[in-house]
C-alpha cells in the first residue's frame, strides 16, 4: 500500500464521528491534567485505560494517545503562569516563560508555547508517517534473539537517559522485571510468587502498578507539605505575537522541532532531554544569551516545539518494535494488549486502519489542541484554582473504581495500595519510579524472547552475537552504557538534569 492510500485510510478511520469525538475527549482531558498540578498523563491514562475496555481498539488508543500529547500543551500553561510545570518536560519552559509572564508578557509566552507545540506536533507526526513503516519492515525480519537484544538496548538506554543515580535506576529496572515474572510461567504453567493466590496467576495487573506508583504515591508526596496553592493569576491579555516576536521564534521552533523529533525516538526521558537540549542550543546560538532566564521568547519557543515533536515521535518505537520509550508508552503497550493486539512490526500489516488511524489522529488532535488552547486559555487558568483537597480524593476514588472495573477483582485494588507504598518509599529514598514500570512491562517480553532464542539455538548463547542485527543492538546497548558512565558526558548529563528541578 502506498503512502497516499495509507493516509487516506487513516483519515477515513480517524474522522468517523466516534473517533473524532474521543480524540477531542482525549486531548481535552490531557489539557486538563496537564494544567492541574499533582496529576499527570501517566496516572490519568492508567486510570482511564480500564474504562476504554469496551471501546473499539482504535478509538481507545486515539483517546489515550490524545491524553498524552494534550498534557504537553497543558503543562506549559502552568509553567508559564505560575512557575509550576505540570509536566517534567515543560520544566524548562517555566524558566523564561514565567519571567515573560512576570514582565506582563504572559499572552505572548502562551501564544508562543501553543504555536511552537502545534508546529512540533504536526512535524513530529510527519516523521512518524515517513519512518515508522520503514522501521516496521526492517523489524519484520527480527527473531527472538533480535527482540531480546532490542529490549536490552531499550532498558539500558532508558537508564542512560534517566536522571539521578544510574545504579538506582538499574535496581528499579531489575525490580520491575522481577515483578513482571509474578504469575504463571508461560512455558510450564508453574505459578510463580503467587503464594497460592489464584488472583495472581495471570500476573500483577499493570494498571495497579501504574496507578499506585504514579498516581497515589504522587499524592502522598504532595501531602507532605500540604502547602496551600495560593495563586495570584492576573488576567491574560494580548494573546498574540508582535511582528518582532513572530520573527524571533521561527528559527528556535525549527531547531527545537528537529531536535525533539530525533531525541523523542530514544528510550527513557527523550522528551525531557529534548526540551533541555533545545534550551541550551538556543542559549548558545543566541546573539543575546544574557536575556535567557530573564524572559527570552526563544527559550519558550524552542523547548516547547521540541517536547511536542518528541511526544509524537516517541510513538515510533512502540508502533514499529513494540518497545515503549517511557512509562506512558508502556501504558499504551498495555492498552494494545488489553485489546488483543500485540504491538510490533505486524501491526501496520495486520491492522492498517488502526495504525494509520492512530497516526492521523495526532494531526487532528493537534489541530483541536491549538483551537482549545489559544482562545480558551482563560478557562484553563481558572482551573488552577481547583483546591487540591478536592482533587486528590477524586484521584483516589477514580483509581479504585477504574482499576476494579477492569476485572472486577478486589485483588487489583489491594495491589494499588502495595505499589503506592513501595513507590512512595523508593521515591523518598531517591529512586525514580519510571524505570520500574518499564521493567515491569518489558519483563515478560525479555524472558520469553531469551528462552525462545535459546531453545531455537539449542542453548548456544552465542546466538545473540552471531546474528548481525542482534549484535549491532547489543553493541549499541554497551555504547549507551559507556555514554552514561564516561565522566565527561556524565557531568554534562548532570548539568542537564539539575535544571530540571523546578525552582
Amino acid at each position: 500500500m502506498d503512502l497516499i492510500s495509507s493516509l487516506a485510510l487513516g483519515f477515513a478511520t480517524a474522522l468517523t464521528p466516534e473517533n473524532l469525538f474521543y480524540c477531542f475527549v482525549g486531548v481535552l482531558l490531557g489539557t486538563l491534567v496537564g494544567v492541574l498540578p499533582g496529576i499527570g498523563p501517566t496516572a490519568t491514562i492508567a486510570m482511564l485505560l480500564p474504562v476504554t475496555f469496551n471501546f473499539e481498539p482504535v478509538t481507545a488508543l486515539i483517546m489515550l494517545a490524545g491524553i498524552y500529547y494534550g498534557a504537553q500543551y497543558g503543562g506549559s500553561t502552568t509553567a508559564i503562569l505560575i512557575n509550576l510545570p505540570g509536566e517534567s518536560s515543560s520544566a524548562v519552559t517555566a524558566i523564561d516563560g514565567h519571567e515573560m509572564a512576570r514582565g506582563g508578557r504572559a499572552g505572548a509566552a502562551l501564544a508562543t508555547a501553543a504555536l511552537g507545540s502545534f508546529f512540533g506536533g504536526i512535524v513530529g507526526t510527519f516523521v512518524v508517517v515517513l519512518f515508522a513503516p520503514a522501521l516496521a519492515s526492517v523489524a519484520l525480519g527480527f527473531g527472538s534473539a533480535e527482540f531480546f537484544s532490542l529490549v536490552v538496548l531499550g532498558l539500558i538506554a532508558s537508564i542512560a537517559l534517566a536522571r539521578g543515580s544510574m545504579l538506582n535506576a538499574l535496581a528499579m529496572i531489575v525490580l520491575g522485571l522481577l515483578f513482571g515474572t509474578v504469575g504463571q510461567d508461560i512455558y510450564t504453567g508453574t505459578p510463580r510468587f503467587t503464594f497460592g493466590a489464584r488472583e495472581l496467576f495471570s500476573g500483577i495487573n499493570f494498571v495497579s502498578v501504574a496507578v499506585g506508583i504514579f498516581g497515589i504515591a504522587e499524592i502522598l508526596r504532595n501531602l507532605e507539605g500540604d502547602a496551600t496553592r495560593s495563586v495570584a493569576i492576573k488576567t491574560v491579555k494580548n494573546l498574540w505575537l508582535t511582528r518582532m516576536d513572530a520573527r524571533s521564534i521561527v528559527a528556535p521552533v525549527l531547531r527545537g522541532t528537529a531536535l525533539g523529533a530525533t531525541l523523542g525516538v530514544l528510550p527513557g526521558a527523550g522528551h525531557v532531554l529534548a526540551s533541555f537540549g533545545s534550551y541550551s542550543v538556543e542559549k548558545r546560538v543566541s546573539k543575546r544569551p544574557d536575556t535567557f532566564g530573564h524572559g527570552a521568547i526563544e527559550g519558550v519557543a524552542g523547548p516547547e516545539s521540541a517536547n511536542n515533536a518528541a511526544a509524537q515521535t516517541s510513538f515510533i518505537p512502540l508502533l514499529t518494535l513494540g518497545l515503549p520509550a517511557h512509562p506512558v508508552m508502556a501504558l499504551m503497550l498495555g492498552a494494545f494488549i488489553i485489546h488483543g493486539i500485540i504491538p510490533g512490526p505486524n501491526v501496520i500489516k495486520d491492522e492498517p486502519a488502526l495504525f494509520w488511524g492512530l497516526i492521523v489522529s495526532f494531526w487532528i488532535g493537534n489541530v483541536i489542541l491549538i483551537m482549545l488552547n489559544l482562545p480558551l486559555i482563560r478557562i484553563w487558568v481558572k482551573l488552577l484554582t481547583v483546591p487540591y483537597n478536592i482533587l486528590f480524593p477524586a484521584i483516589v476514588a477514580f483509581a479504585c473504581i477504574g482499576t476494579y472495573s477492569l476485572n472486577q477483582n478486589p485483588f487489583d485494588v489491594f495491589a494499588i495500595a502495595f505499589f503506592a507504598l513501595l513507590g512512595y518509599i523508593l521515591v523518598k529514598l531517591g529512586c525514580e519510579p519510571a524505570p520500574l514500570l518499564l521493567g515491569f512491562v518489558l519483563g515478560p517480553l525479555l524472558e520469553q524472547h531469551l528462552r525462545r532464542a535459546l531453545i531455537i539455538s539449542q542453548g548456544d548463547p552465542s546466538v545473540f552475537v552471531t546474528r548481525p542485527i542482534s549484535l549491532v543492538l547489543l553493541i549499541a546497548a554497551v555504547g549507551a552504557l559507556l555514554i552514561a558512565v564516561l565522566p565527561s558526558i556524565r557531568k554534562q548529563r548532570e548539568v542537564v538534569f539539575q535544571e530540571e528541578d523546578p525552582v
Binding site: 545504579l167 531489575v174 480524593p393 477524586a394 477514580f398
Partner: protein, 151 residues
C-alpha cells in the same frame, strides 16, 4: 559514620526483594540454559538485584551524598492506603455507592486542613460524580448497592 541513610535504606530494600525473589525462585526449578525452568530468569535477576542493592548500600556507607529523607505524612499515608484497602474489601459486598463514599471520605480526611463538614461534602460530591461518570456515562456494569445491605 555512614554518609547517606537514603542509599543504605534503598539498598537494603533492593537486597531484601532480590534475595526473596531468588530464594523463592529456587523452588520452581532452575533448569539448564537450553531448557530453562520457571525459576531460571527470576533466580538470576533476583541475585543481580541483591548485588546491585549491596553496591548501593556500600556507596551509601562510603561515598553517598547526604540528604534528608524529610517529613513523612503518616496520617495521610495511613488514611489514603487505608481508603484503597477499604474499597477493595467492601466493593463486592456493599456495592459501588457506599464503597466510593467511604473511600472518598477517608481520603478527604488525609488533608491536614480538612474539616468534617468539608470532607463529607467532598465525599458526597465525588460519589455522585463517580456514579455519573462510570455508571451512567460509561455504562460500566458495577452493582450500585451490594448484597450485604440489600434486603
Amino acid at each position: 559514620m555512614p554518609r547517606s541513610h537514603k542509599d543504605i535504606l534503598a539498598g537494603l530494600v533492593f537486597v531484601g526483594f532480590g534475595m526473596a525473589f531468588a530464594v523463592l525462585a529456587l523452588g520452581y526449578g532452575i533448569g539448564t540454559t537450553v531448557r530453562m525452568g520457571p525459576g531460571y530468569f527470576p533466580f538470576f535477576l533476583g541475585g543481580a538485584l541483591a548485588l546491585i542493592g549491596a553496591l548501593i548500600v556500600a556507596r551509601g556507607v562510603l561515598a553517598g551524598e547526604e540528604g534528608a529523607i524529610g517529613d513523612i505524612p503518616w496520617r495521610a499515608v495511613g488514611l489514603i492506603l487505608g481508603a484503597i484497602v477499604v474499597f477493595g474489601l467492601t466493593v463486592r459486598g456493599l456495592g459501588l455507592i457506599p464503597s466510593t463514599f467511604a473511600t472518598a471520605l477517608m481520603s478527604a480526611f488525609a488533608s491536614r486542613r480538612a474539616g468534617v463538614l468539608s470532607a463529607v461534602a467532598v465525599a458526597i460530591g465525588l460519589t455522585v460524580l463517580c456514579v455519573l461518570i462510570f455508571v451512567i456515562a460509561l455504562s460500566l456494569r458495577l452493582p450500585l448497592v451490594g448484597n450485604w445491605i440489600r434486603f
